[in-house]
Point group: C2
Amino acid sequence: MLRTHTCGELRLTDVNKEVTLAGWVQRVRNKGGLIWVDLRDRYGLTQLIFEEDSSEKSLLEKAASLGREFVIHVKGRVIERTSKNPKMPTGEIEIKADFLEVLNAAKVPPFIIEDETDGGDELRMRYRYLDLRRNVVREKLQLRHRMMQETRKYMDGEDFIEVETPVLIKSTPEGARDFVVPSRINPGEFYALPQSPQTFKQLLMVSGFDRYFQIVKCFRDEDLRADRQPEFTQIDCEMSFVSQEDILNTFEGLTKHLFKNVKGVELEEVKMMTYAEAMESYGNDKPDLRFDMKFANLNAVAQGNGFPIFDQAELVLGIAAGGAGEYTRKQIDALTEWVKRPQIGAKGLVYVKCNLDGTFKSSVDKFYGQEDLKSWAEKTGAVPGDLILVLSGEEKSTRKQMSELRLKMGEELGLRDRNVFKPLWVVDFPLLEWDEESQRFHAMHHPFTSPKKEDIPMLETDPGAVRANAYDLVINGVEIGGGSIRIHDRATQQLMFKHLGFSDEEAQKQFGFLMEAFEYGAPPHGGIAFGFDRLCAIFGGSDSIRDYIAFPKNNSGRDVMIDSPSTISEQQLKELAIKVDLTKN
Amino acid sequence: MLRTHTCGELRLTDVNKEVTLAGWVQRVRNKGGLIWVDLRDRYGLTQLIFEEDSSEKSLLEKAASLGREFVIHVKGRVIERTSKNPKMPTGEIEIKADFLEVLNAAKVPPFIIEDETDGGDELRMRYRYLDLRRNVVREKLQLRHRMMQETRKYMDGEDFIEVETPVLIKSTPEGARDFVVPSRINPGEFYALPQSPQTFKQLLMVSGFDRYFQIVKCFRDEDLRADRQPEFTQIDCEMSFVSQEDILNTFEGLTKHLFKNVKGVELEEVKMMTYAEAMESYGNDKPDLRFDMKFANLNAVAQGNGFPIFDQAELVLGIAAGGAGEYTRKQIDALTEWVKRPQIGAKGLVYVKCNLDGTFKSSVDKFYGQEDLKSWAEKTGAVPGDLILVLSGEEKSTRKQMSELRLKMGEELGLRDRNVFKPLWVVDFPLLEWDEESQRFHAMHHPFTSPKKEDIPMLETDPGAVRANAYDLVINGVEIGGGSIRIHDRATQQLMFKHLGFSDEEAQKQFGFLMEAFEYGAPPHGGIAFGFDRLCAIFGGSDSIRDYIAFPKNNSGRDVMIDSPSTISEQQLKELAIKVDLTKN
């Protein structure tokens, strides 16, 4: 070992020990013939001191030549500091160095490698391996490690078996586009990369594995939007002989375990809400429950007073923004502009200020008297000092707009505290959703999700109203994961494919292997998948591993290692024997 | 929950409890108006008994209709068995059933789902999800899970951080062929799948991660030979500020931890041998040390007696097969035929029987007297009752042939016990190896491996003799893993690329990002990668996850889920915008 201790572990109790340290030069200070060096490694910082009277003559000279980020190797004695630094765990000691070796010199780094850096995003991304030296960045990856360890500890303790499923698979379409991998051994044929191990884990249930889990990479060939990465990590689980309640309990347990053991937070009980309730009260299937501000339907109290916009609207919706009653005209104008942006799409915004003296002042005083506005306050739950905000129009889009406005107000009023966690199960999702583009129903979750038994007859009469045994875990407005009780018999699975517009042949060709397996003793089963990247983000870690592990960029600013694929040579393509002529395309 | 207990947990102490079980029907026996059913799940077997006097009238009828592998749900009372089965953990009790529900019927399975099955390989592979119900198969995957858990526990305890590296990367050639993944967003460009996270983990060391590990999938687009799968799993590690000894100690620790905690075996200390010694004594860089049978150079004692084959040979090699002195003529002829097979390629085999009375009988008595043969026995360490086997010819191929023969004799003499484990570090591998085909030197390990400092001058004069700081862990003749101390400075890395025949431009283009990183404070570092599949195989688990998780086959016997890639549609290819015309090819 090139060291006896790390840079984070020496204390007063170690005084007089002869030690060897190795690490990076964080800072060099030169004063009155003395040189201090802060030496850094993953574990911390330790101060070194170089003095003139040292045994090695050239030592001071060598120390003076050190630059930032040099990698060095130092021997010396632990001594008590005269001026201690209570902010540093090693702040009571320093090392009186008597040996110094430069293991590797370093060019001057392009930005300061400290918690506060002068490097802009682009520069830090170009030298990502240097950015990763900063505590704040490194800690995000360490958190990820801790999350993985604790997830596995919990799942193992609950008798789940981690099974690695293959990455090179046959395509089983699941909504998004598959990445494909040409095979050289079978020219003209391709593997697919899994969008999830869904069918694998269901087959494992048929195999009797009873409780399966995996922390697994999944792949989707989609546009790189902010929340969509081409590869992402999932905590993937499946259980047999369980009800929905058993699954929710188990994964509520996992979530609490992680909060407690990784973040030191005792998570409160996870609330439960149906999809219908969530849409009704929050206009959103993943409501942020860190604040209330529920939607109130104002149709009964706002229509019929001669205000044409409300009278013609399918829905008049109000929310009470607590304590925003003193918003200025300017602030309200800004909100109005905000809801009218194309991304939100509202036509306008009506407000009612609930004055502290019990009176009301609104933007529609022409049409509504104090009594009218009082009934609005009652509906929305507004009290003196609050601001009632009202949107109206076609039902679906009004709910959506109000959901955005609610989140915006929560943000402005400081109600979305990153250190408060409000978990929620959203249950009873619709089984199907109508797709305008293809003019047919698609599976909202996936085609293996079971409909609620009592709703099955509606598959023929009102498919959009059929509820599924499907559930999502939502924390602070972020969908952490979702799952369902699956179909486990051939007849129901075939019925489902029929309603999704598959011909019998198509269904058989794509999913025959699964339906056949159901005929050989498939147990009732269900499962869930958590988005590991999102879970880490909630904990303050990285959103996507690709954000942190994508390594240096080339001169054009593109990643050398990832993000930008490489151009393949014609020779390589020939080896792949892709035999389709697409030059005309 | 559809059960209160699993099928493996009820004992005498549970008698009189009302329980609910769920699982698969393993066996139904019908005798004297009583029906016994063995109910199976992952956790075990429990016997159910159905009697006529049961409360539910149709119960016996229902039970009689059960078939093998039906999935059922049963309620009843735990009672003490009259005839106990000491071989079953639940053998002292049975369940007097009073409720039975069939959760899913099952077709008659195509083979018997018990430890001993009547299903041939092909049938079991076609219905792999049924084969996985058999204990012996399921246990292989459970072992894999246990190995992963214990690996992570050990590594976490040693302060290693698990970092997920990306799967969709830019190609960094490492010897084998990359799988490539076309990008739809950047038409005509491709991602590569990693052959290993080698450069990622080195960059993590530059980032100061200090100790990294990952259990990670790697990919090689190679022919599917027995020991090469297109995807395989690796325990991948890297450490900073360490010597080779530190790395060997850490991973000897991991190996012992796994043997102790997964297999209950206290592994002996790992021996160490140089590559040169291994080749000299065993003709093999991964010698099986479960038995000795070291090579003896017989040139000095076998040449010059007028036996032309030996006289013309570059090398005459002997081994003493302990206790094989009574091999019959027929057995020796069979051995001779065996070494002459094209896979081995020897011209012939000379033997000397060491008789119990101290005399010798050889196939070359015409040329060698008793005193000559006695000196062969001394060289090979043969004692009365042994059989000396001698091969001769060109040095390299003779060693290789003798290595095969030695393993064959070990097998025949029962010296390769699956329950004996002999671990070995092979160190000081050559840095380079000559490649006849390309007529140049290739990196034996990979281009990032550091040469021994004292051997660097030989890079110019005798490149093949330069030793590397590289090491392999070998157990029972299987290479479990290997690694090296890496190059960590730009100059040495450039020198290395030069000796591998890279132009400066090529080196810069492919690995400039790494060499640049070395200029910003790269610590000395090194690492290792264990083949997880091979390690599991040594423990009695699966060789490759694909052997077990490749799911049902289609009618032509090919995997539906993996192994056989899928044919992509022309439309899909168009979307991929592969713009090169290869129809002529």
